[in-house]
């Protein structure tokens, strides 16, 4: 650790990831600091606009020899973080495989294909097969809302919609209910249906789903393959995008379908 003191950096606010020096602002998490410094740590349940959550565990790193979630662990001076190692990436691959068999992800036919973070991570981490036996859960599709549809078969329980609706939209439209493998997102309305909830198409909660579980109607497939977010560069090479991505709050024009502008790359 002594080399920090002799380096030209302010040693008080530096730590290392895989031997590389990372500056941080006090209060930042390891993941925030890493993304800002251009270092990629795989993640799914983190979003720069929302409070840390720590449930997907994709971002698990070794901090001074112990396992921890980079999205919830605070950056501290002198920490030595291991991130991009074969062992950690192996573990991440298993976590991805778990998410794939637990839900029902038919990527080739899914509207989110190419814009989906789960799919992008699977490519990035070279997950070639789901490996485990599929659970084939019975989950519902809610197509009742005029602008949004909700297909829980593809939900990965990241609670981004829950947090966005609560903390950004102030509406509490979504909530995770149940426990264990029976957990599921439920909608806050007397009928339990999306159409009777307060959700509108321009809600942050309607834009934030990293997979194809919450989608806008009538815009599917409008962006051709090849022009989607993760088409020409893997997610691991879009650190800038991941660090700055904000939730588009412009309403989606129903008459002239248009995907939110592609950012970064």
């Amino acid at each position: 650790m002594s080399d920090y003191n002799t380096s030209g950096f302010d040693s008080a606010n530096m730590f290392s990831i895989d031997g590389r020096r990372i500056p941080f602002k006090p209060g930042q998490t390891i993941l925030q600091a890493a993304l800002e410094a251009g270092v990629y740590i795989p993640h799914l349940c983190h979003h720069p606009d929302l409070k840390p959550h720590g449930s997907c565990k994709l971002c698990t790193v070794t901090v001074n020899g112990r396992n921890g979630s980079a999205c919830t662990a605070r950056a501290l001076p002198g920490l030595e973080v291991e991130n991009d190692t074969p062992a950690l990436n192996d573990r991440r691959r298993v976590l991805l495989q778990m998410l794939f068999v637990e839900g029902d992800h038919f990527c080739p036919g899914c509207e989110k294909s190419g814009n989906c973070q789960l799919q992008a991570l699977a490519y990035d981490l070279e997950m070639v097969a789901p490996h485990f036996r599929h659970f084939f859960p019975k989950r519902t599709v809610d197509a009742s809302h005029p602008d949004i549809w909700l297909d829980l078969n593809r939900c990965i329980m990241c609670e981004l919609c829950v947090r966005a609706s609560r903390d950004i939209d102030g509406k509490n439209v979504f909530m995770l209910a149940g426990r264990g493998a029976n957990s599921q997102v439920v909608v806050n309305s007397p009928t339990g249906l999306l159409k009777d909830s307060a959700l509108t198409a321009d809600d942050a909660a309607a834009q934030i789903c990293p997979v194809g579980a919450i989608l806008h109607k009538r815009v599917g497939y409008s962006v051709p393959i090849g022009q989607r977010q993760f088409d020409d560069a893997t997610i691991g090479h879009q650190v800038e995008y991941l660090a700055r991505r904000h939730i588009p709050i412009k309403p989606v024009a129903v008459d002239a379908p248009k995907m939110p502008e592609k950012e970064g790359v």
Partner: protein, 598 residues
């Protein structure tokens, strides 16, 4: 119309009692279920309106707890405790007998809405099993005859209050008493001793005593108390963790049943030391039968000025205790999940830091201590830290209560100074044929005979108190499979590795049990376990695969004799999967079958 007024008539008093407080949601749901039998979606919608919170919030809480029901489970809800120790005592045959008697399948409700019979996780009656719960009241020592008697009572719709009292007797079974179990309790003595020492003095004695928490994690109690005392906050809280859910442990049940004075006085002393005004006892649902006597005990303490205002004459020392009832969720033993549950939410572990000592119940500094830990605090108040520190081992001071169950002649509670050898406990309880001991419950470690010389202490074999013995006739594979199913059922579902890993592990164990496992599955068990251990959010997921990993390592033949001698076998029977197709096409000739040998 009349239905609406019926609802208000029954539910209004509950809401009133809880002052329409949303943070009391879990207690409200419990009390509403007591009057309505179950919590329908419509009920939730109305409760959400009354409490001015979202329907989804109410639903999230209801759906999390095993003992809250979204549909009618019958007027008599029978649950058989299904810990491995209940199994060893023959619970399965009794379960089948009762199902047959009612003509029901597991979990099914009888057509007349009278009764349902199902399984539940360990109910903490391992020394007097097989045990059941009827509408959450514990009945121990089930026999075929008792099953028949219960069926008659249910069929005749006899109210539970009129069932034979001996059904509900829960024994203490104290087999070896030391300083805690063997010392008479003089009400108020410990509290007055603490007040005499003063706040700083008491804390100093705690430090000298080096008392470690008895809940399993072994954190130093003095450090916890001091951190809470120093943390900025408007209120401070003392929480007694009586959510004793670890399979095989029942020491807290006995302490609450027969030593409640020490538990509560321990809370008072903690409150005095850290400056808290309210204490909460979180009682697991399985111990609900204790609630009336605990409430009566609290009333007695108030009458003696050991709770309430100016306690024991100390001006300005005000403190009282409330009892909160759990609703069937093992994870609520984890302190931050317990706090979520106290606040009326689903019991999921929080992100830490911040830790409860600085930001706990209602985001205020909170001490969460185990039942046994609080009892120990009374001893330190009376005798002082140095006296206490001299007992036990260097890092594990004092005595420890062990709940012994399984293959032995004398199951029950054994209190020893820390450092006692496993072999000693086995000898004392009359377990001459032991082949393995599972220490500290399903999440603990499985020790084989070679390790019986090891000692119970934080520096060697740490334990929360569970001690399950398996003799040479037992099948350690079935033990591990039982635990795998337990964790699948009890994972909170928050994080990926545990939510999915517990399901994968129990599926793999079932596949091996079906004779469809190979060496491949053996490797998979360890691979999944390693990922769960390294990346789960809390102790549940981190330890859920331990028993499987231990038994794979130490009792390999129990697995190997079940393995199929091929490289891989699918989990399902391919030919059986085609049965539906054969039925639809009306074919059943040889060509419509797969050659299973191929």
């Amino acid at each position: 119309m009349s239905e609406v007024s019926e609802f208000s008539r029954l539910v209004e008093p509950v809401l009133q009692r809880h002052q329409w407080r949303p943070d009391r949601l879990l207690q409200i749901l419990r009390d509403v279920q007591d009057v309505l039998d179950y919590l329908s979606d419509d009920t939730l919608v109305r409760l959400a309106e009354e409490l001015r919170i979202s329907y989804a919030q109410v639903r999230s809480t209801r759906d999390f707890y095993a003992f809250l029901y979204s549909e009618n489970r019958g007027r008599y809800r029978v649950l058989f405790s299904d810990n491995i120790t209940d199994r060893m005592l023959g619970n399965q045959a009794l379960f089948e007998q009762m199902l047959a008697n009612f003509g029901l399948a597991a979990g099914q409700v009888s057509a007349d809405g009278l009764v349902s019979v199902d399984l539940t996780s360990c109910t903490g009656m391992c020394d007097q099993g097989p045990a059941i719960l009827v509408n959450e009241l514990a009945i121990t020592r089930m026999t075929p005859q008792r099953v028949d008697e219960i069926c008659v009572l249910v069929k005749n719709e006899v109210p539970l209050a009129d069932w034979p009292a001996e059904f509900f007797v829960v024994e203490d079974n104290i087999r070896r008493a030391d300083m805690l179990l063997g010392t008479p309790h003089e009400p108020g003595h410990a509290i007055r001793a603490a007040i005499t020492r003063g706040r700083d003095g008491m804390l100093a004695e705690m430090r000298i005593a080096n008392l470690r928490g008895r809940g399993g994690a072994g954190f130093t109690t003095a450090i916890k108390w001091e951190a809470c005392r120093q943390a900025p906050g408007e209120q401070r809280y003392i929480v007694c963790n009586a959510d004793e859910g670890e399979p095989g442990t029942f020491k807290d049940r006995v302490l609450l049943q027969s030593y409640a004075g020490r538990v509560f006085e321990g809370m008072v002393i903690a409150a005095y030391t850290v400056g808290a005004r309210l204490g909460l006892l979180y009682l697991r649902a399985e111990y609900r039968y204790l609630r009336p006597q605990l409430e009566a005990f609290l009333a007695g303490m108030r009458a003696q000025n050991l709770l309430g205002k100016d306690i024991a004459g100390d001006k300005g020392f005000d403190f009282d205790i409330e009892i909160h009832l759990g609703a069937g969720a093992y994870i609520c033993g984890e302190e931050s999940a317990l706090i979520e549950s106290l606040e009326g939410k689903a019991g999921k572990p929080r992100v830490r830091p911040p830790f409860p000592v600085t930001c706990g119940y209602m985001n205020q500094p909170t001490v969460v201590n185990n039942v046994e830990t609080l009892c120990k605090a009374t001893e330190i108040a009376i005798h002082g830290g140095a006296w206490y520190e001299a007992i036990g081992t260097k890092q594990s001071t004092g005595t420890k209560i062990i709940s012994v169950a399984g293959d032995c002649e004398r199951p029950g509670l054994y209190e020893y100074a820390f450092g006692v050898r496993i072999a000693q406990i086995l000898e004392d309880c009359g377990a001459s044929e032991a082949m393995a001991v599972q220490v500290s419950g399903a999440s603990g470690v499985c020790l084989s005979e070679r390790e019986f010389g090891r000692r119970i202490a934080f520096e060697d074999v740490p334990t929360a108190g569970s001690f399950m013995i398996f003799d040479t006739q037992r099948d350690l594979f079935e033990v591990a499979r039982n635990f795998a199913h337990f964790f699948r059922h009890e994972s909170c579902g928050f994080c990926t590795p545990c939510r999915t890993g517990t399901a994968l592990l129990s599926d793999l164990m079932d596949k091996i049990a079906d004779g469809r496992g190979t060496q491949y599955e053996m490797n998979e068990l360890l691979r999944v376990q390693a990922v769960m251990k390294a990346s789960s959010h809390c102790g549940l997921g981190q330890t859920a695969g331990n028993a499987v990993a231990d038994t794979v390592q130490k009792f390999r033949p129990a697995y190997e004799r079940r393995l199929a001698q091929t490289d891989f076998m699918p989990a399902f029977d391919l030919d059986a999967a085609l049965a539906k197709g054969r039925a639809i096409t009306g074919r059943d000739d040889a060509l419509a079958h797969l050659d299973q040998g191929a």
